[in-house]
Amino acid sequence: MSPKTLYDKIWDAHVAHQAEDGTCLLYIDRHLVHEVTSPQAFEGLRMTSRTVRAPEKTIAVPDHNVPTTAGRDVHIDNEESRIQVDALDRNAKDFGIHYYPVSDVRQGIVHIVGPEQGWTLPGMTVVCGDSHTATHGAFGALAHGIGTSEVEHVLATQTLIQKKSKNMKVEITGHLRTGVTAKDITLSVIGRTGTAGGTGYVIEYCGTAIQELSMEGRMTVCNMAIEGGAKAGLIAPDEKTFDYVRGRPNAPKGAQWEAALAWWKTLSSDADAHWDKVVTIRGEDIAPVVTWGTSPEDVLPITGSVPAPESFHGGKVDAAKRSLDYMGLEPGMALKDIKIDAVFIGSCTNGRIEDLRAAAEVLKGKKMAPGVRGMVVPGSGLVRLQAEQEGIAQVFIDAGFEWRLAGCSMCLAMNPDQLAPGERCAATSNRNFEGRQGRGGRTHLMSPAMAAAAAVTGHLTDVREMM
């Protein structure tokens, strides 16, 4: 048998039909659904009198536009948001799919709930009408975002029409230095390859620095594969993966667990597998980074300074000018001199317990700088509960942060959590696009520890100086 990559192996195990031109029907093991990209899909089913083919493989949770303040289970003020959440409630009930309503402590961001509840397992195909579905690749699951028409397609047929992507290996060798995290890895990779560098590829992240990451860290890395343009990000499952999955509510048990484990252990790329593209970065060369512009590829070490647009090539020159204008920055300015107004800790990139611990570690016994407002939004109700039990919530509250209920919140600002025009935010989310966190809002992406450091000093800060 010819050598295969991890992607090849998962792909091959899910082809339900292959046409002569290579177009495949890929079988989908898990379909995650949220309130924003699904109403039109369910409506489509109703209009054509179709049903959900495999409701037991479909999981829904509202997250994108739910408020993160108390009382939301009783009433949501914004009428359009309320209609979307009500529609999801109804659709979940009508079509008989698993559902975590806002009143359920397990509710949270769909990409945090899936792994937490054991819906995401190694070797699966996982899709969701959301680009950050890539997150689930941390388990060695082939996971990617789809549009609403495809949501309807998966609901109706449990398959997707797909052509295979190319294989790309991103290897992070060696070890990370102190103060450097999974977020710095994933941002640094995008800084190197650009936002279109992964287009047409499925990335497998490997190397010692990746192996040494916790499951939370691996999810952070895979989460942003999409920001690098890739179809999906993957990490081969290992003992850490199995330990994370074992005992989760929907993970296999007993003999099924043993059978699953036996297969999962075969899920790694063969040594002589073919790669269409390889990127190698030394773990030791990665520094804590921040973004300065309005594209996730605008990444620099915190020790750097704002670049001059002329230092780029082609269309990027104008894009960089536009970015700097939008961000209100001057070339040559030290990144550490950039003052911030707000801090957002949360999102499917960095809203897990380990992220909150890392931020709290920096904040412990300290206060937020005067004039800065901060918001912590746990990725799920269970993360929130755990953080409260560990005393982390109190650290945030004592530092002056707002301690919120779970949801996407200010990652995309569809709910009331938004930046004001011109407001500048240190954010642990994944997109710094114009207007992403509120019209005119300015976003600098970074790790939770870096965001906490910025909260304390009031400007972008090298967290290593506070350790």
Partner: protein
């Protein structure tokens, strides 16, 4: 879905690279539970001031481009979120084709589901389209999907590549779900086999 065969229309130039889905349609418009009516919100933040008035400098607000049916765009168009609201808004505005050197994967897929043709060209060919588009309303670009050609206003013909299955679906306005349902037996057979080999799923 509407079929796409040939198109002769005004092309609007948008040379900016990395035009993301948040620029194409910002999140406040994602709260709809319908697919229609999003054209007015297309490129909202580039197109309108905060008071709702138009920004005259934005390309689609200029008289010669108000009826544009084709966009010629900078690299990596449609990067970002999976929101199908982006092609819905383009389609509702009247855009039927987008020409660029590269597209983000999910956006690219979403276009085909909505009768929009995304054309990938090498940089020099895209730049030729861009120059033509910059001439304004007098320059109409012709796209022939069957022949896989783009004809510029000066008669220059550019050929493009496209996946044959997608071409077939677009030319005939075929509904993917219907096509897949015809393969229900294959899906059922797969499920039966998977129940044996991976019963824990």
């Amino acid at each position: 879905m509407d079929a796409f065969t040939t198109l002769s229309g005004i092309a609007a130039p948008m040379p900016l690279v990395n035009i993301d889905t948040d620029m194409i349609i910002p999140k406040q418009y994602l709260k709809t539970i319908k697919r229609t009516g999003l054209g007015v919100a297309l490129f909202d933040e580039m197109r309108y001031n905060t008071d709702g008035s138009e920004k005259p400098e934005f390309v689609l607000n200029q008289p010669q481009y108000r009826k544009a049916q084709i966009l010629v765009a900078g690299d990596n168009f449609g990067c970002g979120s999976s929101r199908e609201h982006a092609p819905w808004a383009l389609a509702d505005f009247g855009i039927k084709a987008v020409i660029s050197t590269s597209f983000a994967d999910i956006f690219f897929n979403n276009c085909f589901k909505n009768g929009i043709l995304p054309v990938v060209l090498p940089e020099p060919d895209r730049d030729a389209c861009m120059q033509d588009a910059e001439k304004g309303a007098n320059s109409r670009i012709e796209i022939d999907l069957g022949a896989q050609t783009i004809t510029l206003s000066d008669g220059q013909v550019i050929t493009f590549q496209i996946d044959q299955f997608r071409k077939h679906c677009l030319l005939n306005g075929l509904d993917d779900i219907g096509l897949t349902m015809e393969k229900a037996a294959s899906i059922a057979a797969f499920e039966e086999k998977a129940a044996q080999t991976r019963p824990w799923v």
